[in-house]
């Protein structure tokens, strides 16, 4: 049996690209994402996968999918625009943070230090893509009847999902409580850095049913994403603002 399938799934190629990037000098890797709108079916699997992966509370979303209706009846069509954080090379959110709680990491991902963020929400106002949300401390089980010790009770449900923290930024966080970060902080997509650290693609990429989301190293000339950047359909959102997003769209 040969080493490749007759038709290779893009995920296999991206996984190979990721392995290569992980072996490269970290300072020379620049993560980018390419989203093919022609392939996006608007299923929102990426949104849900992201919520589950990062254990996002109510009212916090990293990757909503905008549903656009174009044209007038009977010539109408729908177009979908998944909107992760653009990981801008020139991010307006970083400059406005008064306490250096949000910075660019070595691979170009904009990160938030939850233990430093004061929750002023200046970055929320500064982001032209609305990619940041504030964690207002909401709970899915807030209105669930409490019945300690019973499987379906609030305590059981919360312990099963809400209190167990995600491994965001590759850190071990304390159980979600009413007082601890990230409650009160700004939150955003971070390209699943915790997954990349262990050689896994971001959750939104692996769960995309239409294989519309591509991820890889912009500086690798052989990477799939680099190939896609050559498409005449490539564009970035609000290019005129000079933010230089690392998320590209194939329109």
């Amino acid at each position: 049996m040969g080493r490749t399938l007759p038709i290779e799934d893009p995920l296999i190629r991206m996984q190979r690209d990721l392995k290569k990037a992980k072996a490269a000098d970290p300072a020379k890797v620049r993560w980018i994402m390419v989203i093919d709108q022609a392939k996006c079916a608007g299923c929102q699997a990426c949104t849900v996968a992201c919520v589950a992966e990062n254990k996002l509370p109510p009212g916090v979303v990293y990757r909503p999918v905008i549903d656009e209706e174009l044209g007038t009846y009977p010539s109408v069509r729908r177009r979908f625009l998944p909107r992760p954080c653009m990981q801008c090379d020139n991010p307006p959110c970083v400059g406005v943070c008064p306490v250096h709680a949000t910075t660019k990491n070595e691979q170009g991902v904009t990160v938030i230090d939850y233990n430093r963020c004061i929750g002023c929400r200046y970055c929320l106002s500064a982001c032209p893509y609305g990619a940041r949300t504030s964690d207002f401390g909401e709970w899915y089980t807030a209105k669930t009847a409490d019945a300690p010790g019973v499987l379906v009770g609030k305590t059981g449900a919360a312990q099963g999902y809400e209190e167990n923290p995600a491994a965001e930024y590759g850190k071990e966080w304390a159980a979600r409580s009413r007082r601890d970060s990230p409650i009160g902080n700004a939150r955003k997509c971070h390209f699943c850095l915790h997954r990349l650290a262990v050689g896994m693609l971001p959750a939104c990429v692996t769960t995309c049913i239409g294989r519309a989301t591509f991820f890889g190293d912009r500086n690798d000339p052989d990477a799939l994403v680099r190939e896609l950047l050559g498409s005449p359909r490539i564009h970035r959102l609000k290019e005129e603002m000079g933010t230089k997003p690392a998320v590209y769209y194939l329109g």
């Binding site: 949104t47 109510p58 009212g59 916090v60 979303v61 909503p64 999918v65 905008i66 549903d67 656009e68 625009l81 909107r83 307006p92 400059g95 406005v96 943070c97 008064p98 306490v99 250096h100 709680a101 430093r116 963020c117 004061i118 929750g119 002023c120 929400r121 200046y122 929320l124 106002s125 500064a126 982001c127 032209p128 893509y129 609305g130 940041r132 949300t133 504030s134 964690d135 207002f136 401390g137 909401e138 009413r178 970060s181 409650i183 009160g184 902080n185 700004a186 959102l237 603002m241």
Partner: protein, 378 residues
């Protein structure tokens, strides 16, 4: 203490007691106790902060009149103004601190400051101004006129930078075209001077300063307020008309939300008629006396929170990307914002705290309030 002041003191204490519920809730639950959303991240807390910081400019106005324009007759107002700065800055600082998602981390401004951020400079100038005026009060009580003069001169650039930085804070936000306007920092300085002058007019009638030319002083203050009011309204008119003619969809929609949206009455009736036209008529009429100047000041003070609300909230009523507001539905992602009970209670607390501060001032530091302290006109 006369009957009117007793009533005001009871009002202040009642406000503090009722508002304390909101403050405790904010301290315990942070922004969970607000109606804020990720689409409208700044609400009533920011409005209250902007209002109080404007009031604190009264002393700044006196400094300009005395030390820049050489109008020495305003010097007696400086003592009251110094107290007004401390009271209003404490209220402004308290309101904005409680608006933070993690107020307990404010020490981060000192430990990991980002010099690129306008908010950091707001914090720096805010603190500097407060320290300067605390020192000034100490100098006044010790009778050191030279120290008062030097501190006033230092306060001038610091105040200018502080009020300008608050406007700059908004104007750097390219994502919000209606704020992203070079006139905004200038408007903030004007608004601060206008409301600060209005507060001084009220305080000057309540606590008449020493000196023979009291009527002349009040008439002069009235003329300054009139000038600032006219310039402020003109700049506002320029901002609105140029914004409407710019053709930028975000700007036009935000302006329309203010002038003909559901809260049109706030702009036309409260801000323009009650806060603009009526004070203008009171100040421009022949023979307007101290009482007219005070009434004009009261009208400006009472209506300016509406102008600040209209500046802060409608600008956030548009999604950053078309359709983003309906992409993922949750109340905390909504574009609509209406302050909840907790936010109103916090507002009541700080308004009551300011009133309490002005009422307790003459008892606490009598030297600041002149010899006629007991003869309140208001």
């Amino acid at each position: 203490m006369d009957a009117k002041r007793k009533m005001l003191m009871i009002l202040a204490l009642a406000g503090l007691a009722v508002g304390a519920f909101g403050v405790v809730e904010a301290l315990m639950h942070g922004t969970n106790a607000t109606a804020l959303t990720s689409s409208v991240p700044w609400g009533l807390g920011v409005v209250v902060y902007l209002y109080f910081l404007g009031l604190s400019a009264g002393a700044f106005l006196v400094s300009i009149l005395v030390y820049v324009f050489g109008l020495k007759r305003y010097e007696p107002l400086g003592k009251i103004a110094a107290w007004a700065v401390v009271v209003t800055e404490v209220c402004a600082g308290g309101a904005i601190a409680l608006d933070l998602g993690r107020w307990g981390r404010m020490y981060r401004f000192v430990l990991s400051p980002s010099l690129d951020s306008p908010m950091l400079w707001m914090f720096v100038f805010f603190t500097l101004l407060l320290v300067i005026y605390l020192l000034k009060i100490k100098a006044i009580t010790q009778g050191c006129d030279e120290c008062v003069r030097k501190l006033s001169i230092v306060a001038l650039p610091v105040g200018l930078l502080f009020y300008g930085t608050n406007g700059y804070f908004f104007s750097v936000l390219a994502s919000r075209p209606i704020w992203n306007n070079p006139l905004v920092p200038f408007q903030f300085v004007l608004a601060a001077l206008l409301t600060g002058g209005a507060l001084l007019a009220v305080l000057a009638l309540a606590f008449p300063p020493e000196g023979d030319d009291y009527d002349g002083l009040m008439r002069g203050l009235g003329k300054s307020i009139l000038f600032l009011l006219v310039v402020f309204l003109l700049v506002e008119a320029v901002t609105i008309t140029s914004g409407l003619k710019s053709g930028k969809a975000d700007v036009v929609v935000a302006i329309n939300a203010v002038v003909c949206g559901p809260r049109w009455w706030s702009f036309w009736i409260i801000h323009l008629v009650l806060g603009g036209l009526l004070p203008f008529l009171l100040l421009v009429k022949n023979g307007s006396g101290p009482r007219d100047v005070c009434q004009a000041g009261l009208l400006i003070l009472a209506t300016f929170p509406f102008a600040r609300y209209d500046f802060v909230i409608p600008a956030q009523g548009l999604p950053m990307l078309p359709g983003l507001d309906t992409a993922f539905i949750h109340p905390r992602l909504s574009l609509s914002y209406s302050p909840d009970m907790g936010e109103w209670l916090v507002t009541v607390f700080f308004l009551a705290l300011a009133l309490f501060g002005f009422l307790i001032g003459p008892k606490l530091i009598p030297a600041l309030f002149g010899s006629k302290e007991g003869d309140a006109h208001a």
